[in-house]
């Protein structure tokens, strides 16, 4: 009998998992006979089995629920939201009881008379007060969720341990022969309703962890396996390193090769056992969306894509609550009321789309809604109200930067605080918790169109792909997730580190990238300050910054070891690892570094929309043209006096140089493509410099464009510098040099 109870719990949990979603679907599609039969059957089976097992409290709730569902099935009762809410309430009680049985082996005592009364009333065809029903279901749940987000649930990974199973098994002490006496100790104990709900939060998590497993293995066992495999990976790495140094032993290297392969497969296999589909974290969302939208009188559809995307259960557990919170937020703050939507010409029913997908070794989860989006104006006011930035600073921020303020502590823009969200515990907690597992969160929003959150999280926390970098001879690991690009700077690389307002920056594709010098940060002496450096372009959420390092080695799968507790408060490191050669190195925490150097500084220096550049960098208007070869060429517009079209036959020769009669003077003409004389006429740029003019014959005038940035402008070469403009490379022609060879033409005559 013991294993029967355990099996009953597994079966019931599995069925219940689907039940919430099925019921939500049914509410939207009340005529779906197959669905109602399915829901009915699940409850029917629970009720039937309970009888055998002597679980009287569970049986009575399931029984009354089944009665109502039977009416739905037989079309004697319409599927109304108010009724569905009560059925949900019954599901919750069932889950709570099943969870408690799983934990203690005993059916918990409790008073369901209120719920049973409601179910009976529906069965008898009495009308219910909708709001009363909805409140009792949703209110206590809300408390739990907020508590979860505030409290330490994050550190406390719910795990079903062997002990708990043991208890559950012992609990099944009843026998079919004598189940009658068990019936006695059921619903007689009257208890405070609140107590039940305090239990509910804990119990629900237990239920989630135990379902959907075909083979039940204690999570402790898996964790242990993972640790050992991690150790094995390290040892393998060390062995491989040794073998590389002593490559003369064929015997050793072939055995090692095999070991390498097996260990890799073992690692993959163990990782796989820890993988769970993301739908495990999403399972409750349709129900939550339904409840919240009901409560707020909104119409919301939830669409889910990529439910099968798998990730480590530890990561999954940690993102479950942030996800739930964000989806609630979307319903509460994002989606407008049906009237508001209709007035805006949008469909009355709002849409929330969840999407999960793999991308280069990590998982992206997007939560988008087609709601009202973020009002930048309101955020701006709030920023000023809360003194998070000055008015002057705000002027400088881009829309994107302003929107990121919603991740600041105590930042809620809802005009009225509702019970659903917006108590000030919000996006900052979400962000902190996502960053805690090495992930990042980003938001894009357009007012009246909607908001999209993108969460990027690692597949697993145990083994991480990292870039190994060197600073002054010491090595560090940078999580690959954060690395978006590597740039070689100094020497002939074409990139150089500049100082703007005393902070180092790198000009990268028309953007200024704030830099953090790791040698400066860690106090490591730089043996070669003027030598070539690498900039590791690092992305944390919407912020980009560069880490300046001396060397870049390779990407390596490293096993993350947590920091010793006395180093925990050093936020620039997230852990350490042992490399193949046996050296212990620190893992850098980009988020921690960003915080240590000051997020504000970075935001100040961040260039997103270009308007900051005006204040700090030179802007040059360039005339773009082609001449000779395909390379784009440019001259500053302020060195151009006129553009003319000349006929080839008008070109004359004077002292062996090409000249043209221009405003009664012979002006030298420079031809960048001497071989090209086939056309009858060509564009001529008349350059001016310090009063002198000269003509530059080109193939084609392309455009005039603004260039933000410096270029070399004092040189005796024909080409001053090469720049990137409009994503194309362009040579800046030394117009001054050419013009100086020209003749003086008075301004009067030019314009005359």
């Amino acid at each position: 009998m013991d294993d029967i109870i355990a099996e009953f719990i597994a079966e019931t949990n599995e069925n219940l998992e689907e039940l919430d979603n099925d019921l939500v679907t049914l509410e939207q599609d009340p005529d779906n006979e197959q669905l109602i039969s399915q829901i009915f059957r699940v409850i029917h089976t629970i009720k039937g089995t309970c009888g055998f097992l002597g679980l009287s409290r569970l049986e009575s709730v399931a029984h009354k629920g089944e009665d109502v569902l039977g009416l739905f099935r037989d079309k004697k009762l319409d599927v109304k939201p108010a009724y569905v809410s009560v059925i949900f309430e019954a599901f919750d009680v069932i889950k709570e009881i099943v969870g408690a049985i799983e934990e203690t082996g005993q059916e918990p005592t409790g008073d369901d008379s209120q719920l049973i009364g409601k179910l009976e009333a529906i069965y008898r065809g009495e009308d219910l007060d909708t709001t009363a029903a909805a409140e009792t279901v949703d209110q206590p749940q809300e408390e739990n969720l907020i508590d979860d987000l505030e409290g330490g649930v994050w550190d406390d990974v719910p795990a079903v341990t062997a002990e708990e199973f043991g208890v559950a098994e012992q609990g099944g002490h009843e026998d079919t022969d004598d189940h009658d006496h068990v019936l006695d100790h059921g619903p007689d104990h009257i208890q405070d309703h609140e107590d039940d709900h305090k239990q509910a939060g804990k119990v629900k998590q237990q239920a989630g962890a135990a379902s959907n497993l075909s083979l039940r293995v204690s999570v402790d066992v898996l964790e242990n396996l993972m640790t050992m495999v991690s150790e094995l990976v390290l040892t393998r790495n060390q062995l491989l390193q040794i073998a590389r140094q002593n490559s003369d032993n064929d015997y050793l290297s072939s055995s090692l090769q095999r070991l390498n392969l097996v260990v890799s497969e073992l690692q993959e296999g163990v990782m796989k056992t820890r993988m769970q589909p993301v739908s495990n974290a999403w399972g409750k969302l349709p129900r939550i969306v339904r409840d919240v939208s009901q409560e707020l009188g909104k119409k919301v559809d939830l669409e889910m894509h990529g439910q099968d995307t798998e990730l480590d259960r530890q990561v999954l557990d940690l993102i479950k609550d942030p996800l739930t919170h964000m989806v609630r937020n979307s319903v509460d703050h994002g989606i407008e009321s049906p009237e508001e939507r209709a007035a805006k010409g949008k469909p009355e029913t709002g849409k929330i789309i969840l999407n999960a997908y793999h991308q280069a070794g990590h998982i992206n989860i997007e939560i988008s809604d087609d709601g009202k989006g973020l009002s930048t104006e309101k955020i701006r006011q709030k920023i000023l109200e809360k003194n998070l930035a000055t008015k002057e600073e705000l002027e400088e921020f881009s829309t994107q930067q302003i929107q990121q303020f919603i991740f600041h502590a105590s930042f809620s823009t809802a005009e009225k605080v509702t019970a659903v969200s917006g108590r000030g515990v919000g996006m900052d907690v979400v962000r902190n918790n996502i960053e805690k597992i090495g992930g990042s969160i980003e938001m894009r929003s357009e007012e009246h169109k909607g908001t999209t959150f993108t969460i990027r999280i690692p597949l697993t926390l145990a083994i991480m792909s990292s870039l190994i970098v060197g600073i002054g001879g010491q090595r560090f690991a940078v999580p690959q997730l954060a690395v978006s690009e590597l740039v070689l700077v100094g020497r002939e690389s074409g990139y150089k580190i500049e100082d703007i307002n005393d902070s180092p920056v790198l000009r990268l594709r028309e953007q200024l990238l704030p830099l953090v010098s790791l040698s400066g940060l860690f106090g490591i002496e730089d043996p070669d300050p003027d030598g070539a450096k690498y900039v590791v372009v690092t992305k944390v959420g919407a912020y980009m910054f560069g880490l300046v390092v001396d060397d870049v080695y390779e990407f390596e799968e490293i096993v993350v070891k947590p920091l010793a507790s006395n180093l925990k408060n050093i936020s620039v490191f997230s852990g350490n690892t042992i490399l193949g050669d046996g050296n212990v190195i620190m893992i850098l925490d980009p988020v921690g570094i960003l915080k240590t150097v000051g997020v504000q500084d970075v935001v100040d220096n961040q260039i997103e929309e270009g308007h900051n550049i005006k204040a700090t960098t030179r802007e040059t208007l360039l005339l773009l043209f082609r001449a000779g070869d395909e390379t784009l060429k440019a001259v500053p517009v302020d060195m151009v006096s006129r553009l003319e079209e000349i006929k080839i036959r008008d070109i004359e020769y004077s002292k062996g140089n090409q000249v043209i009669q221009y405003l009664d003077r012979l002006m030298p003409v420079f031809n960048m493509d001497k071989n090209k004389n086939d056309s009858t006429s060509r564009p001529l740029i008349i350059l001016k410099h310090e009063g002198k003019n000269a003509g530059l014959m080109v193939d084609q005038i392309i455009d005039v464009a603004k260039y933000h940035g410096e270029f070399q402008d004092n040189s005796n070469d024909n080409v001053l510098d090469s720049i990137i403009i409009n994503e194309n490379a362009a040579d800046i022609i030394n117009a001054a040099l050419l013009a100086n060879k020209g003749v003086i033409i008075s301004e009067d005559s030019v314009h005359g």
Binding site: I4, E11, F40, R41, H44, G48, F52, D67, G70, D177
Partner: protein
């Protein structure tokens, strides 16, 4: 040994019924719904006893019973419908379709013993 086919969509119920039925000297077989049960009956000697649930996915108990009765050739299995009070209205239909008896869930060994005795599958002692 005589055999019993237990048809129920709940694995827990199947196990529970099996523990009871095995004590009455039956070799037990499982099916999770009517269609699986029907396949079993088509590919194996017909069982002596069928413990049949009503409400199952794919094929319900009544449809299975009707099909089973068309299969049978002389050796008619004793079919006991396992129902709950919600299925009371169905009992008449079940008996008309050829069920021998019905038994109300939850049942225990003594109730099953009584039913088996009534259907001459167990000798009263």
């Amino acid at each position: 040994m005589r055999s019993c086919l237990i048809v129920d969509d709940s694995v827990v119920i199947r196990k529970l019924v099996r523990t009871i039925i095995e004590d009455f000297d039956f070799e037990c077989h499982d099916a999770e719904h009517g269609e699986a049960a029907l396949n079993f009956c088509k590919t194996n000697p017909l069982p002596t006893l069928v413990m049949l649930d009503w409400n199952m996915p794919v094929m319900n108990g009544l449809d299975f019973l009707k099909s089973l009765r068309t299969l049978d050739n002389g050796s008619a299995p004793v079919v006991i419908f396992c129902t709950t009070e919600n299925d009371m209205t169905h009992i008449q239909m079940a008996l008309e379709a050829g069920a021998n008896d019905f038994i109300m869930k939850p049942f225990d060994k003594e109730i099953v013993r009584g039913k088996l005795e009534q259907n001459h599958l167990w000798e009263p002692r």
